[in-house]
Amino acid sequence: MYAFALRRLLISVPLLLVSSMIVYALVHFAGDPLRDLEGRNPPVPPAVLEERRRLLGLDKSLPEQYWNWLTGIVTGDFGPSVKGIDIGADLSRRLGVTMRMVILAILLAVILAMVVGVLSAVKQYSGVDYTATLLGFIALSMPVFWLAALLKEFLAIRINQAIGKTVVYTIGESTPGLEGGLLTKLADQAGHLVLPTIALAAVNYAAWSRYQRSSMLDVLNSDFIRLARAKGLSRRRVMVRHALRCALIPLTTVVALDAGAILGGAVITERVFAWHGMGEMLLNAANDQDVNRLLAWLMVSAVIVVLFNLVADLLYAYLDPRIRYA
C-alpha cells in the first residue's frame, strides 16, 4: 500500500506542474500587480514603479518569471509580496486554522450524509425519507454565506443567552491573548469552531446524502445482501458490515471530488466569522492584486485537492476488498 501511495504521489507531480502553469498564466494575464501604484494621484515617480517591477521580477520574460517562481516554490520560497508579507510563514499558520474547520466539517457532513442516506434508503418512501429529501433540497438551495450569517447573528446569541455565558463564539478562530493551559485553549477553539463548521457541513451534506441513499438502495437490492440474510445473519449485521461498507464507495468518490468546493465554502464561512485563515488570505490577496500570494494560495489548494483524491484512492482499497494496491 505504501508503494501505491508513493506511486500515486509521483503521478501527481506532473499534474501539479501543469496545474501550476495554468494557474500562473491565469493570474499573470488577469491581474496587474502595479495597478494600485499606477492609479495613484499624485502619480508615483517612474523610479518607484521600476523598482516594484524589478522586485516582482516583471522585467524578465514570462517563461523566466515562471521558472524563477517554480524553483522558489520547490524550496519553500513563495516570492515577494507587494505588501511585504512573508508568504510561507503566513500561509503555514493560516493553513492550520483553516484545515481544522475543513476537516471537521467534512467529517460532520460525511457522518450526517451516511446516517440520513442510509435511513432514507432503508425506509424508502416513508415519512423519514420524504422529510430527508425536503431538507436536502433546502440545504442544496441554501447560500452558505446566508446560512453562516444566520447562525452567527441570530442563533449564537440565543444559545449564549440560554446558557448564561458565551459558549459559542462568532468572531475569530480563537480568543486573542487567552491565558490558561492546553485544555482552556482547546475549549476556546472548540467554541469558535462550532458555528462555522455547522454552516460548512450543512451545505455539503445534502448532495452527499442523496448519493448515499441511491447507492444504498442499489446495494440493498443486490444478491449478496439477500444471501447474507438467507444464511442467517442479523439484519443489523448485514446493514453495517455488508451493505453500508459497499455503499460507501460512491460516497468516497463524491467527497474527494467536492474537496475543492469545500475549500471554496471555507473562504465564505471564514469571511462571515472573521477568521484569520486561508480565506482571508485569498480575499486580501485578490484585493491587493498580490500575484505571489494568490499563486501560493492556488497552489496550496491544488495540493490539498490532490491529497484528498489520494486518500480517497486508499479508502477504496479498504472498502472494496477486490481492489489491491500491491
Binding site: 438551495s141 454565506f145 447573528e153 441511491s214 471530488l257 471554496g264 465564505i268 489548494s301
Partner: protein
C-alpha cells in the same frame, strides 16, 4: 430515454400495408414521446408549483416598475422601517424600499444565472460532444484539461478573475462570462460520457452508410438523443450559478454598485443584522426561494425526461 409506447390498436390493422403502419407508428411515437414527457412532468406536483412560483417571481421582478410604486433608487421618507403594508419588506437607513431593491437584485441575479446556463451549456455540450465523438488522443487531452481546472477550487478562480478582469468593475455581463467560463465542465463530462456510448449505436452506422458527415451525425443524430441530460443539467446550472453569483457579490468580487444583486443586498443587510434584521432576512430568503424552485423543477424534469436514471443530484 427509451419509452415503450404501445401502438394504438387502430393502427395495427391487418389489411393496411406493412410499410404504412410502421411509418404511421413512428410519427405517433414521436408525438407521444414529448407528450409523455410533458405528462410526467405535470404529474410531479412540486415541480409544477415550483415552475409557476419561479416564473411569477421572474415576471414580477422583470416588470417591477409597472406594478410597484417604488424603484430601487427611490428615496422615501421612511427610514429604517420594519415590514409594513406600505413597505412589505421594510426600508433601509437611507429610506430605500427593500422590496424594490430585492426585485432589482433578483432581476440581475436571475438574468446572470440564465445567461451562465445558456453559455456554459452551449460550450460544454459542443466540447463534450467533440471529445466523446472523436475519442482517442484528442479526448484524453480535452478531458485532462477539464480535470486540471477542477484541481483548483472554482471559487478561488472566480475571486481572482472577479477582482481583476475589467478592473473589478462588477458589470453583470462580465460576471456572467466569468461564471460561465467555469460552469461548462460538468456538462462537458456528462455529454462526453454519453457520446462515447451513443456513437457505437447502429443508427450512427446506418447514417454513416448513407454518407452523412461527422458534423451531421453529431448535430442531427447524436445531440437530439442527449437532449434530456442537457436540459436537466442546464436547470441545475441555473441554481448553482445563482448561488455562485450571490456568493461572489457577497464577498465583494461580483456585481457591484450601481448594479445590484441579491448577494450584495445580503452583505449590506448583514452589517445591521441585529438592529434591522429584515434587511438581512428577505434578500436571503428570495435567494433560497429561487434556488429551491429551480432545483425542484430540475428534479421534475429529470424524472420526466429520464425515468430510468437514478434520482441522484450533484
Amino acid at each position: 430515454m427509451t419509452d415503450v409506447t404501445v401502438p394504438k390498436p387502430d393502427m395495427i390493422k391487418a389489411d393496411g400495408p406493412q410499410r404504412d403502419v410502421s411509418s404511421r407508428d413512428f410519427t405517433v411515437r414521436r408525438r407521444s414521446q414529448s407528450a409523455l414527457v410533458l405528462r410526467r412532468f405535470l404529474q410531479h406536483r412540486l415541480a409544477v408549483i415550483s415552475l409557476v412560483v419561479f416564473l411569477v417571481l421572474v415576471l414580477l421582478s422583470l416588470f417591477a416598475e409597472t406594478w410597484w410604486q417604488y424603484t430601487s433608487t427611490t428615496i422615501t421618507d421612511d427610514l429604517s422601517q420594519g415590514p409594513s403594508l406600505k413597505h412589505p419588506m421594510g426600508t433601509d437607513s437611507t429610506g430605500h424600499d427593500l422590496l424594490a431593491k430585492v426585485l432589482a437584485g433578483a432581476r440581475v441575479s436571475v438574468l446572470v444565472a440564465l445567461l451562465v446556463a445558456v453559455l456554459s451549456t452551449a460550450f460544454g455540450t459542443v466540447f463534450g460532444a467533440l471529445s466523446g465523438f472523436y475519442g482517442g488522443r484528442a479526448d484524453t487531452l480535452m478531458m485532462r484539461f477539464v480535470d486540471l481546472i477542477l484541481t483548483v477550487p472554482s471559487l478561488a478562480i472566480l475571486i481572482t478573475l472577479g477582482a481583476t478582469i475589467a478592473g473589478g468593475g462588477g458589470d453583470p455581463i462580465v460576471i456572467a462570462l466569468i461564471l460561465a467560463s467555469l460552469s461548462w465542465l460538468q456538462i462537458a463530462r456528462i455529454i462526453r460520457g454519453l457520446f462515447l456510448s451513443l456513437r457505437e449505436k447502429e443508427y450512427v452506422e446506418a447514417a454513416r452508410c448513407l454518407g452523412a458527415s461527422n458534423r451531421r451525425i453529431i448535430f442531427r443524430h447524436l445531440l437530439p438523443n442527449a437532449v434530456g441530460p442537457i436540459i436537466v443539467n442546464a436547470t441545475i446550472v441555473v441554481a448553482v450559478a445563482i448561488l455562485a453569483e450571490t456568493a461572489l457579490s457577497f464577498l465583494g468580487f461580483g456585481i457591484k454598485f450601481p448594479s445590484t444583486s441579491l448577494g450584495l443586498l445580503v452583505a449590506e443587510g448583514q452589517s445591521a443584522a441585529s438592529t434591522r434584521p429584515w434587511l438581512f432576512y428577505f434578500p436571503g430568503l428570495v435567494i433560497v426561494l429561487i434556488a429551491l424552485t429551480i432545483n425542484f423543477v430540475g428534479d421534475g424534469l429529470r424524472d420526466a425526461l429520464d425515468p430510468q436514471q437514478n434520482r441522484v443530484r450533484a
